[in-house]
């Protein structure tokens, strides 16, 4: 029997085990998770922080009805590539035929006085947010936290700041970069986003770094200080590569893998936040799940190479609608660029297109267009010619409801296919009320939604008659426009009609 050991019970390792459960029913799959917690969905942690979900509601579905064994609280401490075993903290050895490293990443904690304790762990009143346990710790500290500083104005930092602000806390964000989310956003987008957040009560301090923390105050590098009963650190993550490095595997920023998620040892694979593919560590859940698909195929004899996933980054923060699609920030030579900015209303859009296809976009304050733009990007499909309509986000159908503007061939009652022409004819034939028109033309007898329109046409005809009588012009001539010239039509194959 094929023994597959997965080191790591995060979303990537969990997804892989779930795929193997159905695709490799004869394999013995063992998941070794460092945390005592069941596998959970890290993406939902901001919802836990904002109190919208309980920690338990982030748990992922169990591997029911298959040969998957999950050991929790079993951190892997070493790999013996010769004997093909891994050792866990409890001293047990786990033999493998295939080993998967899904060890994830951990928060980067700046080594500053007052932020870290003697053991390198966060000091009292400091939380580095990565795990559900971190969320629980944060929850415990919140009741005593009058003032909160979030260190780091990246995606997670801003999401946490907004979630805490939502719960009524005063929040400052200290960010080293020139503007927030500078990895994803250009400067005008970053400035507009900061202004949006400021309006929501979150104070943003860019171009500043923390220096130290003493007595509930955080000192910054310019000598200023912020009250900080609680400091939440969200200053980036580091892939967990120590095991791989100790085992002699090739490691760059992450554990280096090929298109099939294989490391430099053909029996060892890596995926998710610990893996480096083509020089990149994506650090997002969608690529991790894609990688799980690739690896599940590879481990069951298939071939589905991983190609860097198209990324769409959404800021999950209430009342802030930001999406960064593909390459939002970087200069794209030769691209057609469409921009639209209304900073006073917190709106900024930038679409970069090449060959009519979206290669990158920033959409801030365009909630209705994100979906359409990201789907066009994901599909690599050509963009509608009307770029501004795309940004407006909703099909704006021109409607002319006024009875006089309606062409004669316009169908007023869809249920009975009654045109304006037929209603005009019916009216002229003596059906002068909506009820009479309903009897003679059947208009409005189906769903009834055209009753207003039929009534409108009736009134309009009567008014036109009065006006015509007054001016002694033959009635009706003015309001029965000639039918539009019919389009020359290709003859229809006989089979089509019957």
């Amino acid at each position: 029997m094929n023994r597959i050991v997965i080191a790591g019970n995060g979303p990537a390792g969990h997804r892989l085990a779930e795929l193997l459960r159905t695709r490799a029913p004869r394999a013995a799959v063992t998941v070794l998770g460092a945390e005592a917690e069941p596998a959970y969905n890290r993406v939902l942690l901001p919802s836990v922080i904002s109190g919208k979900l309980s920690p338990e509601q982030t748990y992922l579905a169990g591997h029911e009805g298959g040969a998957v064994t999950v050991r929790r609280g079993a951190a892997v401490t070493g790999i013996d590539r010769e004997r093909r075993t891994v050792r866990t903290a409890d001293g047990l050895l786990h033999p493998y035929d295939e080993l998967v490293l899904a060890t994830g990443a951990r928060c980067f904690l700046p080594p500053l006085p007052g932020l870290t304790g003697a053991d390198g762990e966060p000091a009292d009143g400091v939380v580095a947010l990565r795990t559900l346990a971190d969320c629980r710790r944060l929850e415990d500290l919140l009741p005593r936290a009058g003032s909160i500083v979030v260190l780091g104005g990246g995606v997670l930092g801003l999401e946490v700041a907004r979630a805490l602000g939502d719960r009524g806390h005063a929040v400052d964000v200290v960010h080293m970069g020139p503007h927030v989310m500078e990895r994803q956003l250009d400067a005008p987008a970053g400035r507009t986003l900061a202004a949006v957040l400021e309006r929501l009560g979150i104070r943003i301090h860019t171009g500043r770094a923390a220096a130290s923390r003493t007595g509930g105050r955080l000192l910054l590098d310019d000598g200023s200080a912020l009250p900080a009963d609680l400091v939440v650190v969200s200053a980036g993550v580091q892939p967990n590569t120590e095991l791989a490095r100790a085992a002699g595997l090739r490691v760059g920023r992450g554990i280096v893998v090929d298109d099939h998620m294989r490391t430099s040892d053909p029996r060892i694979h890596a995926l998710g936040d610990c893996a480096e593919h083509a020089g990149l560590v994506p650090g997002l859940i969608a690529p991790a799940w894609e990688q799980a698909e690739t690896l599940a195929e590879a481990l069951t004899g298939g071939d589905r190479p991983y190609t860097a996933t198209r990324t769409v980054t959404r800021l999950k923060a209430r009342d802030v609608d930001l999406a960064v699609i593909g390459d939002g920030n970087h200069a794209l030579p030769g691209a057609e660029v469409v921009t639209l900015a209304d900073p006073a209303r917190g709106q900024y859009a930038r679409l970069a297109l090449r060959d009519e296809r979206i290669v990158g976009a920033i959409l801030l304050g365009f909630p209705a267009s994100v979906a359409a733009v990201s789907q066009l990007y994901d599909a690599g499909a050509p963009t509608p010619v009307d770029r501004l309509a795309l940004l407006a986000g909703r099909a704006v159908a021109a409607r002319t409801d006024a009875p006089g503007d309606l062409p004669a061939e316009a169908v007023v009652c869809r249920c009975n296919n009654v045109t304006k022409r037929a209603l005009v004819a019916g009216w002229r034939a003596g059906a002068r009320t909506p009820e009479a028109l309903a009897r003679t033309t059947r208009a409005s007898t189906g769903c009834g939604s055209c009753a207003g329109a039929v009534d409108g046409i009736c009134r309009w005809l009567s008014a036109a008659r009065e006006a015509a009588d007054a001016s002694a012009v033959p009635a009706g001539e003015a309001f029965a426009p000639a039918a539009p010239p019919r389009q020359e039509q290709q003859p229809l194959p006989e089979l089509l009609t019957r």
Binding site: L44, R314, N416
Partner: protein, 694 residues
């Protein structure tokens, strides 16, 4: 004046028929609450089909294989069919003869057809076109509530709704008079197209074709994360929430948005509208159901309704908008492969014993469950598959998916017999055509989408030469050596037997006195057991599972069976238009309907048309891996650029089902009519892929 009901959809609008010198005149029945004086074009013009120029008035046979169909005497046709059936059964066994029924047949016909198959033929090979209709909703409803009745409440309850979510239901076109009951409600319409119904919506959610399930999971996620879960209801009246949530937990709003194309803000708006209302409904239609994951999609919408505490409360709930005229009754009385009358399972020994008792046969002699509709059609003429097929009230040449292949299957049969009232495309292929009565020429009962049993009444005599389906079944049974009295041709007698057969079953009709159906003030909603009463509203006290609880079903999303790629870059979705009904066999014979929409067309976004060298009014070939269909281009600016839409009512080279994908739902065996991958070509561009392309 005769009171009856419209021959078309599951609303079964009440109509009054007057015989006049110009022929039969229809007017809507003010007293029937479902339509209350309303009628759509199809209902107004229904008499046209009675006098269709090519109405079948004599049996037809071919003098020799391949020759033209010619009129023959009834005796000749019945004797020939009877002899052929006997020959095929004795040479190849009873399963060599298959039966395909329809959701438009009266309860009596559906019942008699199932009995004929199981008793006279002894075949397990019977199914019907309801598989293509509401089978996914039926499976999901059964799983959630322990009982499937399209609407577990009267249609008129909808009139007081504040909010109604319509998932994949374009009722403004497919059942216009229903819109009257939705006038007062804010509608949330889920449809990839900006349909006539979506135009009327307070909120239109437009998911990419094939992503409805992800959207429903996303809405459940929002319901929980936004604090809208009805915890008390979930604890008291349901089971299985935690497992269902584990799947929905993976569909946070931003991910749902990316996969479905429905904005995050709209997801929240939809849930908040539903949650804030006191009287609210979730209704599904074919758009959610006709997928290879249709059952899971409906389950997901049911889960949403359960999470918000909707089903089983007066003024609120989940329902399926059944499509065909007797789509509800048609699925209850035994023309489905796995069922016996009364909505009983054919594999249940107690059900077999009860029904065999009513039929006066040995339960051991009843066949078991047969294959589902598409699988049955696809097995015709293949080694081990049926060699003869009897079709009643269906036109699979136009309505089945991968229609070219199914047409080839029909052509490979030793014997194809079609009972119909017009020469449908399927009838034209038949070795023997049997002309039968239609709506205004016959008595019987129908069960509409709210589980209400209605009387269809005879207003005029059928043309000479036309017989009832019940008479045809009896005559064939006699020729198969069965006693004629076992197969009565009087609908009243059949209904009486049906009541006994359904007694004690989930769809219990045993208490329904036919005379009571004549009183418009009385409404007979099943279950209506002998000695009991009508059940207009189900589940108010308890759901039909043994523990009385509704069950969340833990379902996850999966992709459509076929996704767009380089060769087939667009989604195609199919559906109906207002003027036509199903395969169009009836409405294509109505001048008013032909005037409204007389030919196959394809709706395309103007940009997509331009990029494919097409203009409005030109002809396009719409090509999938199954084949190609020809249709006239209509440019529709509100359509998604990645999606084209085709109605499936048209025959020949314009059949939308030439391109559809027969990937089946694993539970309901519903084919994936609603999404496949296609490309567009101008007609005559010289690219010939042909319908044989695989």
């Amino acid at each position: 004046m005769t009171r009856t009901h419209c021959p078309y959809c599951a609303l079964q609008c009440g109509t009054r028929l007057e015989v006049s010198p110009q022929g039969l005149v229809v007017s809507p029945d003010e007293d029937f609450p479902v339509n209350a004086g309303r009628l759509c074009m199809k209902g107004w013009t229904a008499p046209r089909v009675l006098s269709a120029a090519d109405r079948l008035t004599s049996p037809l046979m071919r003098p020799r294989p391949g020759a033209e169909q010619r009129p023959v005497a009834w005796e000749t046709a019945l004797d020939h069919v009877g002899a052929e059936l006997r020959r095929i059964v004795s040479a190849h066994g009873p399963d060599a003869v298959a039966v395909f029924g329809g959701g438009g047949l009266t309860n009596e016909k559906a019942y008699a057809l199932g009995k004929f198959a199981r008793v006279a033929l002894g075949t397990s090979q019977i199914d019907y076109n309801g598989r293509f209709c509401m089978s996914s909703a039926a499976a999901a409803g059964q799983a959630a509530f322990g009982l499937d009745r399209g609407l577990p409440f009267p249609v008129t309850d909808l009139a007081s709704a504040e909010v109604v979510l319509l998932a994949g239901a374009n009722v403004a076109e497919t059942m216009p008079p229903l819109m009257r009951h939705l006038d007062g409600a804010d509608l949330i319409v889920v449809d990839p197209r900006r349909s006539a119904t979506a135009e009327r919506a307070a909120l239109h959610l437009s998911p990419a074709p094939g992503t409805d399930l992800a959207l429903a999971l996303g809405l459940l996620h929002v319901a929980v994360a936004d604090g809208r879960l009805d915890r008390d209801y979930v604890a008291r009246r349901t089971s299985g929430f935690d497992q269902a949530w584990r799947h929905a937990a993976e569909w946070w709003p931003e991910r749902t948005e990316r996969v479905t194309g429905v904005p995050v803000a709209d997801q929240f708006a939809a849930v908040r509208m539903l949650a804030a209302a006191k009287r609210r409904y979730v209704l599904t239609g074919r758009g959610a159901e006709q997928h290879s994951k249709g059952t899971d999609t409906v389950s997901s919408y049911v889960n949403l309704a359960l999470a918000l505490g909707m089903p089983g409360r007066e003024g609120s709930g989940y329902g399926c908008l059944t499509g065909q005229g007797n789509g509800q009754g048609g699925r209850e009385h035994g023309q489905k492969a796995d069922q016996l009358p009364g909505y009983r399972r054919i594999t249940d020994p107690a059900a077999r014993a009860h029904v065999a008792g009513v039929w006066g046969v040995d339960p051991a002699g009843l066949p078991g469950a047969g294959p589902s509709g598409y699988e049955l059609l696809d097995s015709l003429g293949r080694p081990g598959g049926p060699r003869a097929l009897l079709v009643f009230g269906s036109n699979p040449v136009v309505s089945a998916p991968a229609a070219a292949e199914i047409t080839a299957r029909l052509a490979s049969l030793d014997l194809l017999v079609v009972a119909d009232f017009v020469p449908s495309e399927t009838a034209r292929m038949a070795d023997a055509v049997l002309p039968v009565t239609q709506w205004a020429e016959e008595d019987g009962t129908m069960t509409n989408l709210e589980g209400r049993v209605l009387r269809r009444r005879r207003a005029i005599d059928p043309p000479p030469g036309v017989r009832s389906d019940l008479w045809v079944l009896r005559e064939l049974a006699v020729r198969l050596g069965r006693p004629g009295h076992r197969f009565p041709d009087d609908p009243a007698e059949v209904f009486a037997e049906l009541r006994r057969a359904s007694h004690g079953g989930p769809a219990d009709y045993s208490g329904i006195e036919p005379e009571a159906l004549d009183d418009p003030a009385q409404a007979a909603h099943w279950p209506f057991p002998a000695g009991g009463t009508s059940t207009p509203r189900l589940f108010l006290e308890r759901f039909a599972h043994a523990d009385g609880r509704a069950r969340f079903r833990a379902v996850g999303h999966r992709d459509a069976a076929e996704l767009p790629d380089g060769g087939y870059p667009l989604h195609a979705t199919t559906g109906r238009v207002l003027a036509h009904y199903q395969s169009g066999a009836q409405t294509r014979r109505v001048p008013e309907s032909v005037e409204a929409d007389g030919e196959a067309f394809v709706e395309v976004h103007p940009d997509t048309a331009r990029r494919n060298g097409l203009t409005a009014g030109s002809l396009a070939r719409v090509v999938s891996r199954r084949g190609a269909t020809v249709a006239r281009v209509r440019t529709v600016a509100s359509l998604r650029t990645d999606t084209v839409f085709l109605p499936f009512h048209f025959p020949g080279a314009g059949r939308a089902n030439l391109i559809t994908n027969p990937a089946l739902d694993p539970v309901s065996r519903m084919p994936e009519f609603k999404v496949c991958a296609v490309r567009l070509e101008p007609l005559g561009s010289g690219v010939t892929t042909g319908s044989g392309e695989r």
